[in-house]
Symmetry: C2
Subunit: 430 residues, 2 copies
């Protein structure tokens, strides 16, 4: 049973604040282990990768090879279900079309005193994408990470994926190939992150590493940050459904459970203005849980972190929506477009009753790599912007330098930076 | 004496690679100390801030007050040199005009099958800006951090600044006021970062923390990351000047020294195709160093990290330029516009002989918070984008859901996520 919070209760604010700060993940301190692995890969390169992979993934890369070959990829296409391959291709095309609109434009202009200013965007040269192994190896995530990099113009898109027992999910290889990935290596864990950051004989280093992973991968990403760029560290997923009583409880229960089945730490929240309707959704959740192959995971998530929040009206709900700052927000109300402008913090917004969040996971076209654990207050989902960087441009002639010099020199001197002042003054014989 | 690297030498690649990976900073492990301070501020709030400030900054906030008042700001205007205040206002206006062009636009469109997609940008609600105390307290940096936040529409811009001995540089307060900062607190160090992240009785928490600081501040920012957003961790500054012999050696020497005077860990690099000209610049550096109030700092930086790189021609220089990925890049060559498209990695590019980097530090209009230590390979200088975040939008009707359902269901089933498949199928009675 999820908890119920009623906005009209006297202790609501206290309980809501506690609910917001509930930790859903245990953080393991693996920093020392990870540091040793990274140092070893820097020292011994491929040999270290081979040793760790034998130990952790029970795969002999000495025989299998570190790099996945073109023949391996062709075999993966043969092993994969053709309907799924077609669905991946369909998803790839939709993700590509949407992300193409995100490419920032260069800007160059002359201001009123003749100074030229500008922004110039260029793609990151090489990006590494970590793909988890085993059950967490989602081909859809390969598309969601690799397609924006490809759209951005990244030349080298490199995948690392652990081959537990020597095996990689063929759909991972197919998704990688469809998304224009240029290199795939059979390594995982902190050792894979180290190889991407520092390079080995086989793996050339990249400039940025993205993609989800376990505690070791997350710690390794934090440790190599600075040497390379990293994306956000993803936490467990969450959905917030805002719904009036004019909804089918079964539809919304299905949406809440789609989130809950991910992980025992996932979180599903319903906000409604109708207590009886909230009850019906809860009953539908309980009924549907039993039908799921992942019933145990979904039940634990719903029991430990699920919530039904009863509000007086939807205007009163909006501050709560913005404090929760959900990764996924469904607006299943009569006039969702009127509610939309009041949403300040959300990773992705799903509008209306026919837009289940799951469409965004696969084929909507928008990205499913989104800010979790309230970080939508300050960050965004993955976009093409994560794979480009900006150089600012400044260009002055003698007249412009003369016009700007007095203020620059005054500020440099006020900051005690005489060489700064001199670098301007010397050009004007000042 | 800076080192000289000659591209035509047999061991150039080896020496250049070593040069690139030279660490310019000692990293101090202050994590445990910082963790204790953060925990204490979370526990004891203002009382902890008062204790640490008495200990580290020798200032009694019990008497002075934690918050800077309007009267304090008015007094700062009286204490500040009027010409400098005018220069700050001039710089503020130029920074504001340039950054206004960076505001991303919302996007909403309908794709060929009728799916509505979109991007919606909203400002971060509250941002904290760390301002260092003492000699590193640069009013220009207050403008560079606060103006983009104001342009983005951030409602609460909060400054924390240590008041060593009770004193804050009046220009810091003036710059803050000019940039629309809403709250200023007399606290610094890890305790200030903790207060911004978790809040105290006096300081309401923010959603993102930006701005430079010492090792304690940097460690605190890393530790609170996740609870709040943070900007990049800035390293020591660097400039790369690419110059042909048709330049006044004194001008370029002044530019190299403007960087070197910042910090003994700063780095100044000259790339030229003319050995004799390189020599002249080096001689000019040695001559000018003696004239500087910060001669000792500049000399140490130039001696330990300065470099003159002699190239065969400028085409051969471009791969080196891109591997160095300098924070600041000056193109002082005959045709800088022809060179510009070949630059891949640089934080800011200064075009032509009349654009010293220092103009960008103060009054060019572009931002001086830029990626250091080769991170221009994967990141950008501060922009309005750092103070906004994006929600993606998806909206389907029944027809669109029907069109996308088969692929979504196929992928959900392939990933073993049956509740995902169900959340789509249930709406279509599938």
């Amino acid at each position: 049973m999820a908890i119920t919070l009623r906005q009209s209760d006297a202790d609501f604010e206290k309980r809501f604040a506690a609910f917001l700060t509930t930790k859903r993940e245990v953080s393991h301190d693996v920093d020392a282990t990870v540091r040793a692995i990274i140092d070893d890969v820097r020292d011994r390169g491929d040999a270290a990768l081979i040793d760790y992979t034998l130990k952790f993934d029970r795969a002999d890369l000495g025989t299998l090879g570190i790099a996945v070959t073109r023949a391996d990829i062709e075999q993966a296409y043969k092993d994969a279900d053709p309907e799924t391959v077609e669905a991946l291709r369909f998803a790839r095309d939709r993700i590509r079309s949407h992300h193409a609109r995100q490419m920032p434009k260069d800007d160059r202009y002359v201001d009123p005193i003749g100074v030229e200013l500008g922004s110039r965007w260029t793609a990151v040269e090489a990006v590494g994408l970590y793909v988890p192994g085993g059950t967490a190896s989602y081909p859809s995530s390969v598309l969601m990470n690799a397609v924006p990099a490809q759209v951005a113009g990244v030349e080298r898109i490199v995948i690392v994926v652990p081959a537990s027992g020597g095996v990689i999910n063929p759909l991972t290889l197919v998704a990688a190939d469809l998304a224009g990935v240029s290199e795939i290596y059979r390594v995982g864990g902190a050792q894979a992150v180290a190889a991407l950051a520092y390079g080995t004989e086989t793996i050339a280093p990249v400039a940025k590493i993205v993609g989800p992973g376990n505690a070791y991968v997350a710690a390794a990403k934090r440790q190599v940050f600075g040497t390379v760029g990293i994306d956000m560290i993803a936490g467990p997923s969450e959905v917030l459904v805002v719904a009036d009583s004019d909804n089918d409880p079964d539809w919304l229960a299905a949406d809440l459970l789609a989130q809950a089945e991910h992980d025992v730490s996932a979180q599903s929240i319903l906000i409604t203005d109708d207590a009886a309707f909230g009850k019906s959704v809860e009953e539908a959740v309980e009924r549907q849980i039993k039908l799921l192959p992942r019933a145990e995971t979904a039940a634990a998530s719903w029991r430990d972190f699920g919530a039904v929040i009863l509000v007086d009206d939807f205007d009163a709900a909006m501050p709560l929506v913005n404090r929760i700052a959900a990764e996924h927000l469904e607006l299943a109300v009569a006039d969702p477009e009127a509610m939309l402008p009041k949403v300040r913090n959300a990773g992705a917004i799903f509008i209306g009753k026919h837009t289940p969040e799951v469409i965004g996971d696969y084929v909507g076209g928008s990205n499913h790599v989104l800010p979790t654990a309230r970080s939508a207050r300050f960050s965004s989902g993955l976009t093409v912007l994560d794979f480009v960087k900006r150089s600012s441009i400044l260009k002055l002639g003698p007249d412009q330098l003369r016009a700007l010099a007095p203020a620059a020199i005054a500020l440099a001197k006020a900051e005690g930076l005489d060489a700064h002042a001199r670098s301007v003054a010397i050009r004007l014989n000042m």
